[in-house]
Symmetry: C2
Subunit: 667 residues, 2 copies
Amino acid sequence: MPSSFDAIDVLAINSIRVLSIDAIEKAKSGHPGLPMGAAPMAYVLWRSFLQVDPSLPSWPNRDRFVLSPGHGSMLLYSLLHLSGYALSLDDLKAFRQIGSLTPGHPEFGLTPGVEATTGPLGQGAANAVGMAIAERYLSRYFNRPDAEIVNHHTYALVSDGDLMEGVAQEAASLAGQMKLGKLTYLYDSNDITLDGPTSLAFSVEDVSKRFESYGWHTIRVESGNTDLNAIHDALQTARSIKDRPSLILVKTTIGYGSPNKAGKSDAHGSPLGPEEAKLAKAQLNWTEKEPFSVPSAVKPKFQVIQDRGTELRNAWEQTLKRYRSNYPELAVQWDLCQSGKLPEGWLPDLNELSAPNSMATRKASGIALNAIADRVPWLLGGDADLSVSTNTALKNKGSFDGTTGQGRNIHYGVREHAMGAIANGIAYHGGLRTFTATFFCFSDYMKPSIRLAAMNHLPVTFVFTHDSIGVGEDGPTHQPVEHLAALRAMPNLIVARPADSRETGFFWELAVESQKTPVTLVLSRQNLPLIQGSSKDCLRGGYIVSREQSKPQIVLLATGSEVALALEVKKLLQSKNLDVRVVSMPSWGLFRQQSESYRSSILGPSSCFRTSIEAASPMGWKEWVGEQGIVIGIEQYGYSAPADEVYKKLGLAPAAIVDKILKSFPG
Amino acid sequence: MPSSFDAIDVLAINSIRVLSIDAIEKAKSGHPGLPMGAAPMAYVLWRSFLQVDPSLPSWPNRDRFVLSPGHGSMLLYSLLHLSGYALSLDDLKAFRQIGSLTPGHPEFGLTPGVEATTGPLGQGAANAVGMAIAERYLSRYFNRPDAEIVNHHTYALVSDGDLMEGVAQEAASLAGQMKLGKLTYLYDSNDITLDGPTSLAFSVEDVSKRFESYGWHTIRVESGNTDLNAIHDALQTARSIKDRPSLILVKTTIGYGSPNKAGKSDAHGSPLGPEEAKLAKAQLNWTEKEPFSVPSAVKPKFQVIQDRGTELRNAWEQTLKRYRSNYPELAVQWDLCQSGKLPEGWLPDLNELSAPNSMATRKASGIALNAIADRVPWLLGGDADLSVSTNTALKNKGSFDGTTGQGRNIHYGVREHAMGAIANGIAYHGGLRTFTATFFCFSDYMKPSIRLAAMNHLPVTFVFTHDSIGVGEDGPTHQPVEHLAALRAMPNLIVARPADSRETGFFWELAVESQKTPVTLVLSRQNLPLIQGSSKDCLRGGYIVSREQSKPQIVLLATGSEVALALEVKKLLQSKNLDVRVVSMPSWGLFRQQSESYRSSILGPSSCFRTSIEAASPMGWKEWVGEQGIVIGIEQYGYSAPADEVYKKLGLAPAAIVDKILKSFPG
């Protein structure tokens, strides 16, 4: 860890600043303030500490670096380019242009070296906690005394905005609880946010003291734009503190170098402008004439990163080789988990879920999840203080301990939003399968993180129980109505509301196998009967669970607990000599993926009268029932009372449904 | 403030406990642990401090009390009943039954004395911050040296779960920033949550230290179930500390009194059961044989609350009388704002919004909002560090200052979730109109609070700008796709996406006049042309902005920025001799409220071919275009690039839309 800095280091830092300025000027859009102010801390971290291999960004044992204030993306792109990642000057020149590797906010999976998609504030800081958890678990599971294949740090650069966000506060509190000693936040404390000085909204708070209250170690760097040694020493200290995460509060000047905009919110979110860019370069003693020019003198400074990375990775490859020969079975598991695969024989026998019992789908979920977890050692997850209710506790798997890395039940506490973002962090890290759990109503609390999981193809399983007015006595605050519609509208998210224990088991299999798509399981609190006709076809999104006698006059479409209700309705309609088909439609998204001919074979000919039955907002059902069909749903908030009474009160009793159907049925 | 407590006080506290036990036993459902553990602190607050008038729960100058952990509702119901509110023993016996005044979680507007609907954790704690802000603003605006008509405290009882939630952390940070000296949290610290001991997820954190880091004063009460004097002294001290909010951390035992469940998570969320209830009563030395019996000895103890309230309210009525005679104009304003009305002449001239200019609807919104704010002194609001972008700054109205109560711009900082919950608190308090503002994408961060606004009929205006892929370069993390669908599915929420500056003005008028329904304004970042045919009919939710020549063959339905796009598409279709109608449909919800004949007059006869155009998820549009019609929307996440290019890339350019229409058009 070289600690002496010279004029070339300053030039290297200015290279980051100037590349950022130039790219933002060219795009005529972007955020120069952060790259200019935070370049020194990022540079010192990358040059002196960060263990990555730019020629192999996916090296599993690399340190993770997350730029939580994603609007400062040019800081990261400049660093990636200068450090030798496959990100060219032309890529930087295409900043914020369609199809480029350099979008406005960093996007995971698109740009080599980007560890997480950031921009919505607070998320990256919480993702980093998930990465640190993943490292702990994997190191405990795989490392052996003679062959340590997992041992890395996780760094997040965080901003004032990040640390105001609740999701980051929840995550930091949990990181303190877990004593994640290999997690470090570099806090770019520049006293400026978009609207102006932080004195407007964030000046009374003593952030370091807050982090100490969480159980973090804290260090303060007073002159973050000039005192490289202080940054270096702080990072060194943070690495040496192993029993707690560390916050390094670095005082900086936003837009450092810009004579007229430095220290002002003007520097935050708009290009400096050609004139000011020129003045800034002059103030930084920048002598290159052309934009996007980097003095060759700085090359060796960044080469250090690649050299260190090559050396470390080579040593690691040697270790892995030894590991393969000493621990061949574990090595097989390592390869599987690193490629997102499951161990052979992972598929459990879930026959007990097909027993003709009445069972809440949350309970069936717990049985399926535990059976799978028994066979997949790299599956871990947790809940927001509700495992007793969500049935997601992994039996005999212990509570996750951040110090030892043991245990597979993550106790997130009542921190739903951080739970979502941390689960995303575990998925970003790689090597693990993970899930979260809470009540369906509180999917709202974590929606920003679910969105990022979907956008970034993170196969997290989000378990939501207590899925409807069936919650009963807890009343409207706890009874989801509009949540299914909200999640169904989200691109690349599988929303599944299984009808019984059997369907629940199949959806757990789908969830654990999913590679590129998060899955939400929406499960009942109340007992549901086994549907006689339910089958693995549920994974096609919609299928017939009860056929008509000869030619369907009425097709009932239902999900979850309402499939059993639809079967009762069918009985009543049959007694009126109507021929009725019942379709279980647990996932619109999967159903849409089927062929048109399959879909119409399920929905029935246009001559039949379709009715959807779902204890939720009617939004979107018209697509399936067609113009003549009717939608039976809920267009208000619920009531506090026993579930059956709430169903009745809201018109979801069999007789009332039959009445509605007969009123509209043209036949 | 009497401070000596005797055996009858203990009996009074046990009355709260036993009523709670009995109601939960009868309902066979509920949460006894909190009422049993927190009864002493709640009792001391109510008996010795709380300034309320049980005979007039709506007395404007009452102290506010919020039970943030709403699952402990029986604590509140017992207190309300015993203190003389219009909540009878029969009401308590109907706990958690349909139509009762005593639902599972407290519901605002239903039960006299319930100040906020709570249950989703963290919300109530944040609501209380809003109430304290409202008190500050109203006291500064209305009070005169000889006549102080606004001067009250705000108390929230908060739990471990509340304080883990990000929304409460954000709110507490802001309360510290604002130095809200008349806000006090009573923290029921019982070391137990639903899943077990807080050591699982919440034991490292030093909560008092955290609150000190926010700038709060903190006090600790060690024996919260027995030391009534300590609770009393702490509340006394909290009242005397005027320059900061106060946290009183009270150590308690959950389920205090229950011999086998006290101190265990078993006491949290299920009835004690008949046997244990009996044992608990014995341990509490309870001698009443019948359930729901209250010893008459405790009556005088609770009578104190009514007596104090009557006295205070009478004095206040005298003050108000003096106020009316000394400040007649202010008194008129007082009456108006207290009844949710607006001052005469509040409606501004918004003609400038009908000028044929290109203008972003966010900009038009800023003009309308400012014109209204100039005329409505009890309108205040703020943004999550984005006022420069959301155009919601109130010009020349100053920044809100929690010490003096001056200023009408609330700088929420990057705390969207607390912003929503605090705005709800302002609305719960009464006397003010309020709004919030952030980017539409971040509506997700505050969705739980929007839901509670809708459920509780709070007429908050939620402004969301940067409403679509039109955001451009900031890319997919900042480009809403599914958010319109998510909010449209929410009962009792008006979602409005105006097409131009003129429509925007009308929707601001609607929002400010709304009494029982929150309004979300979904506004563009980019400039939009004035739509020639736009008019006040936008408030009907859908209307024709461009008529057909004679008989419509094609009807284009669009919202927001896509109305102008639809007009371009119309031109192209006309050149192919097709007769086209264009409908602006800014609010599905308002459109649904119109008569069926109005709706079909707008949507056109079933013979015409309808196409919706909206840069968002297609979810739900089938309802409007019908079985034959087509929906043009976006079913993926966006791109980082200039807005026009993103539109083109996603198939929303006029020519591409025309192609799609012609491909499906049967004519």
